[in-house]
Amino acid sequence: MRYLVCIKQTPDTAELPKISPEEAASGKLSVNLVVNPWDEHAIEAGLQLMENYGGTTGAVTVGEEGAIDALRSALAMGCKDATLVKHDDEIDAWGVAELLAAAVRHDGDVDVVLTGQMTVDGNSGAVPVALARKLGWPVLTGVAKVVELTDDSITVERVVGQARLTVKAPTPVVVSVIKEIGEPRYPTFINIRKAARVKIPELTAEELGVDVPAPVVHMSNFRKPPARDAHVKLFEGTPQEAAAALIDALLEEKVL
């Protein structure tokens, strides 16, 4: 079995609100960059599949040279290999999907492609679906649990609103996971050290034979929401009194 996790390097969620539109537009961010938190769950899912069904899990990302750090994090978590698809120019979800699809084909016989449900910076959630479209594979989104994986099919639980659906699809397949799939594991130092030593192969669009489509999505009015006039109220007293006061306040605000 072969599992390939598609990840993206994004700003840390704690730092996101601090990024100005100008900084974001310039593409040169001064904040700490990490593996997109949703994708960490996808890595965890890939590692669980490897542990439960055998095979190897690899990671792939599309990005600039610095995105290698995100791949090293994936290796440190336990991925067996990683590939950087180097791309410096402006790109949208459709273009990323094109490159990732080529990387998947280049990888060989991949059974399951895993992704997070979205990225914390782009927030489109379009890549997993677009990637499946490009590959011509089925896509399972909102996956909370892999029930069974066989040589030619996968059975998963999807969370849709309040409901949980158990669905089966033929492999190869694109699976986009949600948080419930499992908390991302914390890398051991042994794996961090191993990951630091690995030479991560780089591929370009040219080497993959891909003509990256020009972005079809453009940000026309990229701005921060106006600061909200939020205020914090602390309720004093015993837990019982504080809870009663909180309920009164919520009733007053018509929240309840």
Binding site: D12, A14, E15, P17, K18, N32, V34, E183, R185, Y186, P187, T188, F189, I190, I192, R193, G237, T238, P239
Partner: protein
């Protein structure tokens, strides 16, 4: 004097004991050498003197349990003197002389021997009665503590009985032997007790008295010969190994300062301790020194609130494991079991608050806390198996430089409108204020930071803060076993501190104080670091601030573990308080025997392990018992824990405030 045949038999037995004893002792040496690292050999004279003083005066024993300590001293001093007495008896057995003569020295020798023999017998009887008749609960363990199967089967009682009877018979027969000699040769005014007993033998024929003289000699000294090879197997070995422990104990800049790991060394394949032999050599020496008195257990905040951790059980389990595998360990064989399989449970590992009470109280210089920290290193660095909530703190420290995972650019939010100079704005500062994550980010602790800022400004101190360049000091990462994360934070912080040329640093958190003062040295950071309570004390004494003694409150000061026990700062916070409050009272556990708030050792960032009571509630109850209306603290974690406990207690909860807040309130 012995007969020729007796002399020959005794000489042969001595040779046999030397042979057996040599191997038994040498095996202990080989087992201890299986541990990691090397004993320090710096300043051997000072170490030797310190070990000697501790050994002779029993200084560390007197910290608690005064009655038992006194009876122990009887036995210990008797035994120490018996090194000389046994030698003297052998000399007298082989040569027709009175050892040390019958002048002043000889008389004094016999007098001391006589008194100490009786003292030793009384002392030993006390301990046997305490264990076997009075069933002292201090010698028991809670049911949830992991114990070696031989301990569960009564191993401690068995070993204690063997040791106790050995001492009773050895000292008893030596004493009786003297009484027979006196009955035979006439009263000795310098042996009043033996002389008194000798009256019992009045009228016995000389041959009987001589027989019993010889028999007593043989029992007293024969027991020593028989016991020596058993000695390293028994807990009585503590009488030698305690001295060895004090002789070789590493010099640390603070009670709990840890050794760093060399992450650059690619030959290291094991980080932290999974097996016994992964512990330091000290971690293997400790169980040999342990006398299994459970004093560490008595003071352990985890144990006394019903968690699965008992520091003494840890040492005892290690000792029984070593005894079971001594040949294998001595010959370089691999341990099959992991420490978590026999020494303690996983919950016990994560229950430790690293308060250092076990290290401080141990009469033989053991350091069970360090084993736990080495095991945590293994759990994090090798196994990635640790309480889930710690991961949030780890990733927070990694990515945003604080365990709350709040934005690094929010670090100065607390200082808005207060005109707090950063090192960029005031590069020529005299004092660098290390604010710390909690005073910067935690809403409650921010008022400590604000109060201290007010004090510094009022006093006209030329200070600066690092602002957004300050990262978490890494204490929580290190105490949680994430040494690699600590290594990264320490390296970066030292680089920053050296770059801004910090010399004198004041911290508003004892964890920062401990880390910067005692642990950054290994990373090239050498600074004069003081706690804010010390600085406030200095400022008041220098007349820079004039707080009024107007707080009409009875205040009790809670010693933060990392300020007090770990770094020995007890007086300045109390002095500072005395300037501003009308009355101070002490809790039952204070100063070096203070009781943890429950947040140390990265407990702040995880759920408390399952037990009978929360640590903070136990401490809070002690504060309530003093009748104080306010608990003064000097640590943001203690502030959180005791405030929570006060809220839990309801309406009449005590006020919990940092010393800086109390002082700032009195500034006009």
């Amino acid at each position: 004097m012995l007969t020729l045949i007796e002399k020959l038999i005794f000489a042969v037995l001595v040779l046999a004991t030397i042979y057996n004893g040599y191997w038994a002792f040498y095996k202990v040496y080989l087992v201890i050498r299986r541990g990691q690292g090397e004993p320090g050999d710096d300043d051997i004279k000072k170490r030797a003197w310190n070990a000697f003083v501790n050994w002779v005066t029993l200084r560390p024993v007197w910290k608690t349990r005064p009655v038992s300590s006194l009876f122990h001293a009887f036995v210990a001093w008797a035994f120490m003197f018996y090194f000389l007495v046994n030698f003297g008896d052998i000399v007298q057995g082989y040569f027709p002389i009175k050892f040390l003569g019958e002048g002043f020295i000889g008389n004094a020798y016999r007098f001391i021997a006589d008194v100490l023999s009786v003292a030793g017998l009384i002392g030993m009887t006390y301990f046997l009665v305490r264990r076997f008749l009075a069933h002292d609960p201090h010698l028991e363990f809670h049911d949830n503590i992991r114990l070696h199967e031989k301990v569960l089967a009564g191993g401690l009682k068995k070993d204690s009985l063997i040791v106790g009877l050995f001492i009773l018979f050895h000292v008893g027969f030596r004493f009786l032997g003297e009484s027979f000699t006196i009955a035979h040769e006439g009263l000795d005014p310098y042996q009043p007790f033996a002389s008194a007993v000798s009256s019992l033998w009045a009228g016995l024929p000389d041959t009987t008295l001589v027989f019993w003289q010889h028999a007593s000699w043989w029992i007293a000294l024969g027991l020593i010969l028989a016991f020596i090879p058993y000695f390293p197997h028994s807990k009585h070995f503590h009488l030698i190994m305690a001295g060895v422990n004090f002789l070789t104990k590493p010099e640390r800049p603070a009670l709990g300062a840890l050794e760093p790991i060399d992450f650059e060394d690619e030959s290291i394949e094991q980080f932290g301790a999974a097996k016994l032999t992964d512990l330091t050599w000290k971690g293997i020496l400790d169980p040999y020194a342990c006398i299994m008195c459970n004093r560490c257990q008595d003071v352990c905040p985890a144990y006394t609130t019903g968690k699965e951790l008992s520091p003494s059980a840890l040492e005892i389990n290690k000792r029984y494991y070593i005894n079971d595998h001594v040949d294998k360990l001595a010959s370089g064989g691999e341990c099959e079991l992991k420490l978590l399989d026999f020494a303690l449970t996983e919950s016990a590992v994560w229950a430790c608050t690293t308060c250092g009470a076990c290290v401080e109280i141990c009469p033989v210089g053991n350091e069970p806390m360090f084993d736990i920290l080495h095991i945590r290193r293994n759990q994090v660095l090798m196994e990635s198996d640790f309480p889930a909530k710690l991961q949030t703190a780890f990733t927070g420290m990694e990515r945003t430089g604080n365990p709350w995972k709040l934005s690094a650019s929010d670090r100065m939010n607390w200082a808005k409108g207060l005109d707090i100079p950063t090192v960029d704005e005031n590069p020529d500062f005299d004092v660098l204020w290390w604010v710390g994550c909690a005073p910067a980010y935690d809403m409650r602790a921010q008022s400590t930071a604000k109060a201290f800022a007010r004090i510094l400004k009022e006093a006209g101190v030329n200070f600066a803060v690092l602002g957004e360049r300050e990262m978490c000091c890494g204490d929580s990462a290190r105490r949680a076993g994430n040494e690699y994360l600590f290594f990264e934070l320490a390296t970066q912080n030292v680089e920053t501190l050296n770059e801004v040329k910090a010399k004198k640093i004041v911290t508003t958190c004892p964890h920062g104080l401990n880390t910067l003062a005692a642990e950054y040295g290994a990373f090239g950071g050498h600074y004069e670091v003081i706690h804010h309570s010390q600085m406030i004390d200095d400022l008041i004494k220098a007349g820079k601030i004039r707080p009024k003694k107007e707080l009409d409150a009875t205040v009790t000061f809670h010693d933060p573990c990392y300020l007090g026990r770990h770094n020995g700062i007890y007086d300045e916070p109390r002095e500072t308080l005395s300037f501003v409050v009308s009355e101070t009272v002490e809790m039952e556990h204070s100063r070096n025997q203070s009781f943890c708030c429950g947040a140390g050792g990265a407990q702040m960032w995880k759920e408390e392990e399952h037990g009978a009571q929360a640590v903070n509630m136990k401490r809070y109850e002690e504060a309530v018992e003093t009748g104080a209306s306010c608990i003064a603290v000097g640590c943001p974690f203690c502030l959180t824990m005791l405030t929570d406990a006060s809220k839990e207690a309801g309406d009449d909860g005590l006020v919990v405030k940092d010393i800086a807040e109390l002082v700032a309130e009195t500034l006009s």
